[in-house]
Symmetry: D2
């Protein structure tokens, strides 16, 4: 942390700040510049609270230097985190496609769609049993019944299943039935839920909050790792901006930055970013081209009758085309002949 003093700050004020830093057990190093003094705060473990110093006379501003996250950072753990569920592997060196309907609506619907996405090449089946809905009057999901249908899908297709958990009350049920537990955008900073997920042994799929900075998102993951669960998958799904031609704005620069800053896998959800079927395919290709470790895609065989998110759900044949296209792009990126000079893709982008 760097404490920048006003250019008229007195020597006594500088001394007071130095004393305050050292009182907290850190080392303070005043640096004389051309027109002002700055004070470096050194030998701290993790981020230091800026507030106490910001309050002091003569202080102009506080500039954080150290990143707040620790266990999620690549500096802390240089090797990529790889997650294995049954025969499926998620992380560096793999392209993972999770697909299925927004919400489980019936056994028939789930099995029909699961059949389609498995045939097209999906590795994991997604489907919501507990649905976070903006309106109390909208369909809220089938609940426990939906979880049981997910288990049947796994039994019949062999695909691992992922579904969203909305609260601590239903956590045990979701944990019992799901292979991967999803924490949704609106709950990214539901810290009680994050702590609960930290005590689970199932992998957690953590969607980025609607307006979360990268630091906030990684700190939410840090809650889970700190709790003891190191199997976290990050998911970029678009952020809220002034833009109106898509539901959210997909922030693909998050992909290389997460890959550089963290060892955790990063998946992209183009469906929620787009909000309109016709943008999903281009954004899915873009995500894989940007280096994502996988995709989460909404698919429905009858989108016009979907209980939710029908407008952004792909038809099964569109999804099959998506799988072909993104696999080809992924192949290109990992073609050793193309980049003879590089050991692997991960290095190439860092």
């Amino acid at each position: 942390m760097l404490i920048v003093m006003d250019h008229q700050a007195s020597a006594a004020q500088v001394d007071d700040v130095v004393a305050a830093v050292e009182k907290r057990g850190f080392t303070a190093k005043p640096i004389q510049g051309g027109d002002r003094v700055s004070i470096g705060v050194l030998y701290n473990q993790g981020a230091v609270e800026a507030a106490p110093f910001l309050c002091m006379p003569g202080v102009k501003e506080i500039i954080p230097v150290t990143r707040p996250y620790k266990q999620v950072s690549r500096e802390f753990k240089p090797e990529d985190t790889i997650i294995r569920i049954g025969g499926v592997t998620i992380g560096e060196g793999h392209l993972n496609i999770m697909a299925g309907p927004c919400a489980i609506e019936s056994e028939a619907q789930a099995l029909t769609i699961a059949g389609h996405v498995k045939e097209a090449g999906a590795h994991i089946f997604r489907g919501g049993a507990f649905k976070p809905r903006t309106s109390p009057y909208s369909f809220q999901g089938m609940g426990l019944e939906g979880l049981k249908i997910l288990a049947q899908v796994r039994d019949k297709t062999g695909l691992p299943v992922i579904t969203e958990v909305m609260d601590v009350e239903t956590f045990a049920d979701v944990e019992a039935y799901a292979d991967i537990i999803q924490i949704g955008t609106r709950n990214m900073q539901n810290f009680s839920l994050l702590k609960k997920a930290g005590r689970s042994r199932k992998p957690v799929f953590l969607k980025r909050g609607m307006s979360a900075t990268l630091d906030e998102w990684l700190m939410a993951a840090e809650y889970i790792l700190e709790g003891g669960n190191h199997q976290v998958i990050l998911c970029e799904r678009g952020v809220r901006t002034f833009v109106r031609h898509s539901r959210n704005t997909l922030d693909l620069s998050a992909v290389p930055v997460v890959r550089k800053e963290s060892h955790l896998p990063i998946i992209v959800d183009p469906s929620h970013a787009a909000g309109r079927r016709e943008q999903v395919l281009p954004l899915a290709r873009a995500a894989v081209a940007a280096g994502a470790h996988g995709l989460m895609v909404e698919v429905h065989h009858e989108p016009a009758n979907a209980a939710s998110d029908g407008a952004q759900s792909l038809y099964p044949e569109q999804f099959a085309g998506l799988c072909r296209e993104v696999s080809s792009i992924y192949g290109i990126l990992n073609n050793q002949e193309l980049q003879p000079e590089r050991k692997n893709r991960a290095d190439a982008d860092r």
Copy 2:
């Protein structure tokens, strides 16, 4: 809802959309314009899902017309909601000031600050017992112990107390000790918590989400009203934008819009919007001038040693100045001589 057709849409495509609308029990009314047909969807109760129609051939876009909220709207209930807690009244015709530390740190700290804010004119004491923190390594609040200190503050000062609830597990405890239950920004769309709050008999203070639209915020309140609890107070606390000179950007246009669209009281929190002490006073004055029904302000007698949010906490004497200034401004706005032509302030701004 209005379904806009492509300008090359065929008559058969128009007929199909009309049939699909009527199949769902609504009335469809095709409207022939200069270069395209639009189809009005009529006699629906509440918002209609756009997705099923967006999927159909020949459809260019869907334009919502009806607002999604119902019970929170002024069209549904024209009279202002007034909330009474002990001797305190919140809502139209009153200016309500809630103040106290970000977090309860000890009995002595709470009582000291409560004494200051009561003397300055605050009506309600605020203080966090359960704290949502970005980092798992930050102080997480005193929990139940903090709730008990709040009860002592109420006993000794006579001020009602407000504190944040973070999850369903600790809801009963918070409900037992608090006079007003706060749901924080990060939990605005924690629907399980909203449903729980809907079954409480205590008033709920609902902060706007960091990037929530007005519709989403009012729909979150709708969850609580739909659950049976009609005592909801809305709180604008700044939204996330590209701006970096304040912690958030205070959206004061939300004040007149909420007052027009809803019957619920609207309070402003300038402390979290500002993030820096020096901006709190100007924003507090602005909020009252914009027509807010009150303020929530962070105050600490030793901000340099505050466990959280010290940088934005006012010193007691600054808070006293704030109370004097906003009371004067509120007096001006409600001075009948100034606006002889208007019955009251509420009408004047609508």
Copy 3:
């Protein structure tokens, strides 16, 4: 346009609005819904000003239906606009790479970089002679001298050149030397400059404004087409959001939406979106995968000594890798065997 009335609006108020619409020469069609009347405004040419109606008693809100742009729209001209400059073709069916330094610094610098980018496969050379800089104390470009160097680059390499014009005063000079005239982000709504560009016969490269909606951007292009110049190339370069890990947030959903709404080519500039060299390659691949007709990329052989934007400039060998990767991705997308069921890529994404 749809005029939505309050649910208590009187019949007389509805009649007044109908009369006001018809007085302006349009057709008004009242539509009776369940709890309110809406009035369709029909047979208008282009967008109708909402303001006159928004003022009238009983009106709740105005909902635009027709898009404001005309000549830039695909509804107006269904065939893709293809632009030819010397041997280079820009538009559907081609992948076009424009590369070079942010600013022309010297003849030697320009020729060195031009040699590198030509060898790597770039089709057009970029370089700024007039530089828009946030600070008056920063290097402002070489001006006319820089334009002359660009002409030399064209003579010696055969590459067409693109450079930015900053004002009407220097327009004739830029027009005389450049093959493509660039209008920058900060000038997207410099309407005097747009009108001037509309009278030019050289193609215009129009960058999206930092916070421009798609409608505003297309309307800026409409100014140029309306002036008589139909050779416009659009360039997405990232928009301003709350995100801090990249200089701007690249809005790739703009690519499919522009391709659907307009017949103009759409190029992506990953360098200004990223702001950091390490994000440029992933974003470049993503842009091509999303369907962009080309890229504009900053390249410098000595970024550490670049007069501007060095941090986001690629080294020549990185740029060569970029060209190989995006060409492979483009090849995949246009491989007929992969999508036997589709006539061409443009159809596939619409």
Copy 4:
């Protein structure tokens, strides 16, 4: 500037960065922290370009410390800038109201509105002769004819006039007729226009760009001061955010920050922020309560027939109410009895 090294950076890499800093004539000071080295860059005049260092091996990130602006800063010139035009004074200690129609439409219209706003208490008359319009098909202003009408308004009412200049070509005309030259939002970074304004002797009214940071806005003003014209008035008019219930989001925290960072006067335009008449009065009151030195407000006697911006224009009687209310609020804030302990308002908010 602070150069933060990777935690694995070698001593040789640190030495290279130190050498690169010193080669540019600055002083480099390595600071050893707990897990990494940072290098302070000292004795620089103004901001240092980060790019050259960001490129170097072992560098993790660059953190700017010094603010980029100089002449506009209060550190450079502590006394408030006061601007006098005829009998009107703008700046600290004065509340200045500028009002009039969006566009000059005719002599009769201008004189009628000028009469109204003068009577209500406005100090300066505003009206557009050259209008920046999103659409080429919208009314573009009366041009020179409009300027002549403004001159007549000044002659007949005695009010100084302010009007927008759109380009260098028409600058001399606008300068000849106007008392204050307005540079609009879309031209905030039209650097050619800013340089031209820097050579004028008339005061310049500089609106904040739609998504400009405070630094960018102050740097735009720096261009004008650097050119030799020290009479600059800043105007906050709302920024672009995700919010949809107002045309823009008024950023009132900019008021105290500009007052602290700069000596230039800061005016607020609530009309363009609101976009809807009913929000203008609350936002105007809020702006004055936040400490603005004045307001710019759109007024029209027949908004339903206004050539532009009718929806946000106040009726004359609404404007008269606005003047009464903001004057009362301004009186409160500058009432010495209320703040006996402070010399003046400016100090109180800093």
